[in-house]
Symmetry: C2
Subunit: 234 residues, 2 copies
């Protein structure tokens, strides 16, 4: 068999919404190269694993996501990154994976390296080409909110329409009219399933609680600003 040999890793873009901000899970590297730089969590693919297996294993290991994450959350492949010089140790191909999680109580009880959720706006200068992978992951997440019901993956099992709207506003960095948003999501069949309970304790009228419905697609999609036509997409 011809061809050079690669080490194959999986790097995770784990996104969540905290305090109305889109956050990403990062780990501080404890070894060279890029020692003490922030990096995306990840690891190498084992002998008997498929790529998705590795991604799921790393996700659980880094977040303890087995509890609620695996139920509500979402995990999908982003793309492959294999520039010849992306890793000084040799030829490494990294498969980026995108994970969307509800705001977990605290992601740091991992005994290993320092891990933290940081606002994506503040993140730059990651190790390797992880800035690129992160940018691709954020863009993928933004695009998918338009035509899927994936925003619910950022929410706990039960949530209000306002919770869901704040997810859109945080990811897109826009403001959405609460009344039109409510009409849109509640009138899409299978998006939201109302529960019998309401939330008390907040200000204002107590909102209805919903659960995720079986729908995965939004027809028609919910479009963000038609940012400008023509020219390169960036």
């Amino acid at each position: 068999m011809r061809g050079n040999l690669f080490a194959v890793a999986v790097d995770l873009v784990v996104l969540t919404v905290r305090h109305d901000q889109l956050n990403v899970l990062l780990v501080r590297r404890g070894e060279r190269p890029y020692e003490s730089h922030w990096a995306l969590p990840g690891g190498f693919v084992r002998a008997d694993e498929d790529l998705g297996d590795t991604a799921a294993r790393e996700l659980v290991a880094q977040t303890g996501a087995a509890t609620q994450g695996a139920v509500q959350g979402h995990l999908e492949q982003l793309g492959g990154y294999a520039a010849p010089d992306r890793d000084p140790r040799g030829r490494v191909l990294s498969m980026g994976y995108l994970a969307l999680l509800p705001d977990v109580p605290d992601p740091e009880p991992t005994g290993g390296p320092t891990a933290a959720f940081l606002p994506v706006e503040d993140v730059y200068g990651l190790a390797f080409d992880h800035d690129t992978i992160l940018a691709d992951g954020v863009e993928r997440a933004r695009a998918k909110l338009e035509y899927t019901t994936l925003a619910a993956a950022f929410c706990p099992p039960e949530f209000t329409v306002t919770d869901l709207r704040r997810v859109y506003e945080a990811v897109w960095r826009t403001e959405i009219d609460p009344r039109n948003f409510q009409r849109k999501v509640t009138s899409t069949p299978g998006f939201l399933i109302p529960t019998a309970t309401r939330v008390t304790g907040g200000r204002g009228r107590p909102p209805q609680l919903f659960r995720r419905g079986p729908a995965t697609a939004l027809h028609p999609p919910m479009l963000r600003e038609p940012v400008a036509l023509a020219h390169a997409t960036t």
Copy 2:
């Protein structure tokens, strides 16, 4: 550096529209495993290449696409495939790439193995997991026609609105009203640039010739049948 080592290949899903049918470029394997089976064209990533370089090199090698393909065509990454048992020779990760080309005159003057465009409807039983990669590529192409101007990548440098509509109809396997389609594509800024010439010789009123415009996105998108909501996507 931990982790097992992989051979890394690039496999191409090269799509074109011929005789109002979506076709895919296949090669007949001349060696084991899967000898004499049809497979996607592809090859291994070389030492100094990034993944896109390999894909572009293979595309030119297999189609001679340098002439018109590279100008009008389109090439993008599909995803990574690395199931542990996908290749009996050992651990191979394959990056799928999707290429959209105008109908090239004839793709067979390659001195190498037998190559042919075959209608995707008739294709099954490809080597390795290429059936899966092909299905993913076709689905990606179908989805992208909805919200991008990529359909023009299937057309020669100058084409009519009817040519473009036949691309949509072939890829989606639907029928589209010619009058509404014309209104949509001609009213989208930057999609089509009219030329001074018209086509003569055919039946009916001579149509206007257009060139691709700079627009890449369709806002709002052109939606195909809302195929059915809810449930898993595949």
